[in-house]
Subunit: 343 residues, 2 copies
Amino acid sequence: MPATRRRRATILDVARRARVALGTASNVLNGRGNVGGALERRVRDAIDALGYVPDGVAQSLRRQTSRVVGICVPSTASAYFAALQEAFEDIAAHQGYELMQVLSRGDPALELRRVEAMLSRRVDGLILIPATPPEATFAAIAASGVPAVVVDRAFDDPRFDYVTIDDRAAMRDATRTLVDAGHRQLLFAVRIPGLVTTRQRIAGYRAALRSAGAHGVVVARDEADDAFTAQIARCMQARARPTAIIASNSAIALSLLKSLRTLDLVIPRDVSMMVFDEPEWAEVITPPLSVVRHPTAAIARAAWELLIHRMHTPDAVPQRVVFAAMQVAGASIAARRVRSSGR
Amino acid sequence: MPATRRRRATILDVARRARVALGTASNVLNGRGNVGGALERRVRDAIDALGYVPDGVAQSLRRQTSRVVGICVPSTASAYFAALQEAFEDIAAHQGYELMQVLSRGDPALELRRVEAMLSRRVDGLILIPATPPEATFAAIAASGVPAVVVDRAFDDPRFDYVTIDDRAAMRDATRTLVDAGHRQLLFAVRIPGLVTTRQRIAGYRAALRSAGAHGVVVARDEADDAFTAQIARCMQARARPTAIIASNSAIALSLLKSLRTLDLVIPRDVSMMVFDEPEWAEVITPPLSVVRHPTAAIARAAWELLIHRMHTPDAVPQRVVFAAMQVAGASIAARRVRSSGR
DNA sequence: GGCAGTTGATGAAACGTTTCATCGCAGGCA
DNA sequence: TGCCTGCGATGAAACGTTTCATCAACTGCC
């Protein structure tokens, strides 16, 4: 028997059936007022009999609040974002909030649309890993007045709270690790050069290279895998060919690994490798990858705290919480004998 | 200047400022009625001046519909689920729906809570990859009368539409591939033995083994990686040790790969391997994995169509759409010389 | 010029809650 | 007995929309 869509019972139906006033039924439901013994019984019976379940939309409208926190991420393909989301989910479940997620696919227009939908549905707070450029979304959030915290990508907009890692320092350290292993020609593979995160990392990269007297290029993966492979091939045939590569996230790392395989280059014999964003498969490939790990749980906790804090005191002065990333050594970095250099 | 949370402009504010009737403002917004030239101008100006944006909650309440489709998945750690979600996201974006996702973590209680939250917020439809057992969630959905489609896991409940792959056939074929390569002792590693999907696969496994006169065991990964490794170790030291392993999903495959590495067993020299659920990293590991691929995009399209159809005709008789999975050969399966056997 | 028909604006009602001022009533005290 | 207190129950108002019946004014036609 297919389920026909019939009218749901309302609180008025409950009240009528229990022969009490509308407000009394509401009081019983919310444990307000001093709920009398006999009436309460009748109301509860009516609720059970009718299978009444409150309408969340009407509640939100009347209460002007929803106990829902929204989260917008570019994608869940990144292991880091997926892990972040699960971390938030855990926290929300324990704090009695519902977490609702939307995907922006890294597209500012889609992001704006999705975020506006959430705002207009009265989420109590918003967690955002913004696409680039984020201005339109930022403006919409600010105009709505909904508390928001920006995660992972530190923009300049002073209206929001941020929780990020210190990308500059993390990349500086990663570069140093490679330089210390004797590498003098590096390659940094990124997806979106304009991204704040990326820019910070490039800055750290350059700084570390400079102070070590080493050299390095930055390569952006545009769209197709083929073009990227060609690009990498060109770099690897250059006179001063890179002996070590840093991948800016796990997706890029995948592309790189495929390209290297196509080019018959073996890690770490022919080239060393290091990856930002610890993919789950880092330790099952050959060789296990050296990675830069994000403190996911700590980031989620900090972001949630900032958000709750702002929900209570909307005028609190915006904060920036910065975590340090951590290198986890695999076996994808080869030591190189340093030729007598001027250093 | 921190954003103070001030009252949002309502449509009444707009009407007043434009000095028109409430309904007129609404008509302009919705393109209803015959919107006059001069008044329309005034209303639009007022909207811009006030930065008015309609309240989605009030709209949902009045319209009794929301243009939001909810989706509940166990996790996004599985590449397959993540891909499904992105496929749905694409479709929704093109069809003018918002997609809101929640995570159940495979926990029926959490799933029920999350799904109830969505139902009560008046989603127009629901896509569910259910946890086990799913009864409570199914009951809640049925009671709400919200159209729903169940994806990936075929339960018996006749109240819903289902879109799945033919797990039995897929597993039968996978087993055959290994048998045909000369393997006579197999191992099937699963996560949740009770899952419908798993049960179907086990059935297909047994059937194929029987008809080929081969043998096979089923091993469930309970919790810890260590225990699992010990379990695998025991199997691999048995007299009739498995020469080929099938992993029921990418997470299990990861655990397996780690265990095999610990045990110093090399694929495909010491043992062959095949994986359900095509992980993104399947082709970058050594050797590239032979996998069973889900037709993700087709599944998402079919599920969406069923959902839309049911939204229009709630009493349509529930359907089951079943897709075939596809084997994609890697290099993780070694051919084995078949000893003279009774076959 | 009168009338039917059309166009376009109007504002009340409804969606399903919560909240709050009000009110009846019982009990206690003078 | 009469009055005050306070407890519990009550139902109207409000949240921000959309919808719809009504109405005023205008057009075209004879």
